[in-house]
């Protein structure tokens, strides 16, 4: 095999390896992987995001309309500030509500948007006013047990 041919083949091999490592690195890093052409940003503040992750889908009526861009902690209001990127094609009214829901029973969290009835639409950079935080299982169980415990002495007193 000629020298030129060998070098070309080895160069191709090295290129393939570089592309493979690049693919692994980019795919593992948090670069946007969806094929939306243009998006606009909205914000929402939550008391509890409960396992919502960056790149989780934003769905309205069950259809994915965007992705979570970033989740940060606001040290002044002690809330989580979630930035959403919504597809340019979809506009939502200003009284849209955002809920953190679970896909399936124990699945991953996603953000659900329920459109309101206002005439005006949310502009890029607006904050969604009506939010419902994630339901955390432990808080539910502890509040249930607390209510149960509060009930029993009351019932015992009423029976007497």
């Amino acid at each position: 095999m000629s020298k030129k041919q060998t070098e070309t083949l080895v160069g191709g091999f090295v290129l393939l390896g570089l592309l493979a490592i690049l693919f692994l690195a980019l795919k593992a890093a948090n670069l946007a992987s969806f094929s939306f052409d243009s998006t606009y940003t909205l914000q929402a503040r939550f008391d509890e995001i409960g396992g919502l992750k960056v790149q989780a889908p934003v769905k309205s009526a069950g259809v994915t309309v965007g992705r979570i861009a970033s989740i940060t902690f606001d040290n002044k209001t002690f809330q989580a500030l979630v930035t959403l990127q919504i597809d340019q094609h979809y506009q939502f009214p200003t009284d849209t509500s955002a809920k953190i829901l679970t896909a399936g029973l124990l699945g991953d969290r996603y953000l659900g948007l329920e459109a309101g009835g206002d005439d005006k639409n949310l502009k890029p950079g607006d904050t969604i006013k009506m939010v419902q935080s994630a339901i955390v299982l432990e808080s539910l169980i502890s509040s249930f047990l607390y209510n149960k415990a509060a009930e029993s002495p009351k019932d015992a007193g009423a029976k007497k």
């Binding site: 393939l16 493979a20 490592i21 989780a56």
Partner: protein
Amino acid sequence: MTLLAFPGLVGRRCLALLAALGHATLFFVDLLRHLPGALRRPYLCIVQVHAIGNRSLSIIGASGAAVGLVLALQGYMTLSRYGQSDSLGLLVAVALVRELGPVLTALLFAGRAGTSLTAEIGLMKSGEQLAAMEMMAVDPRVRVLAPRFVAGIFCMPVLGAIFSVVGILAAYVIGVLMIGLDPGQFWSQMQDGVDVVKDVGNGVVKTVVFGVAATFIALYIGYESQATPEGVALATTRTVVVSSLVVLFLDFILTALMFTAP
């Protein structure tokens, strides 16, 4: 053989093993010493990269695809029992990038490239080519052994990455195109769960370590083989066995170091 002679036999075998281990270590240090000489002759290394790397592409690619397909099918069956079938991408990527990619690539590399190295060096030795080179005041370790060592260390991370990528793409074909999972969840859970430094980076480190081990073992066993056709045949099988065991053992040590929380 009398019963009394048995402990003597065991003792002699153990001492021989220790001697071989010491000889191998000295050989390794000698090989490292001649690395700069090989790096100064890049064309020799390039020819070896072609022989070791390019020629292994077909088996690495095919095996990567097969492992990815099987991982996707088995993973889907188990995950769907708990309603977590959306996590298939994460499962396949973590399994491939952290463990299966480096280890299986190393085992296939030892089987394909390792045996070819051993056979080549063994035949060179039996054909007295190495002795002839020494007669001409050409150091065979610089011209023959060290370029193959450099090529082996270089090719392993490349092949490991290609294995993992082909596996993930094959899993995508099964999971998204055939079973019908959500592609966004497939990639987003993977991107969320696989860390560039901790997972991909550690996987690359593993492939480099396995490359050093497998190539060195292949070269050593080839160099120390008996200069007969039977000796070369025996050496090639020994390469596969010893390389595989050492790679699996090193994998255990590296996994314990890298992936267990302190």
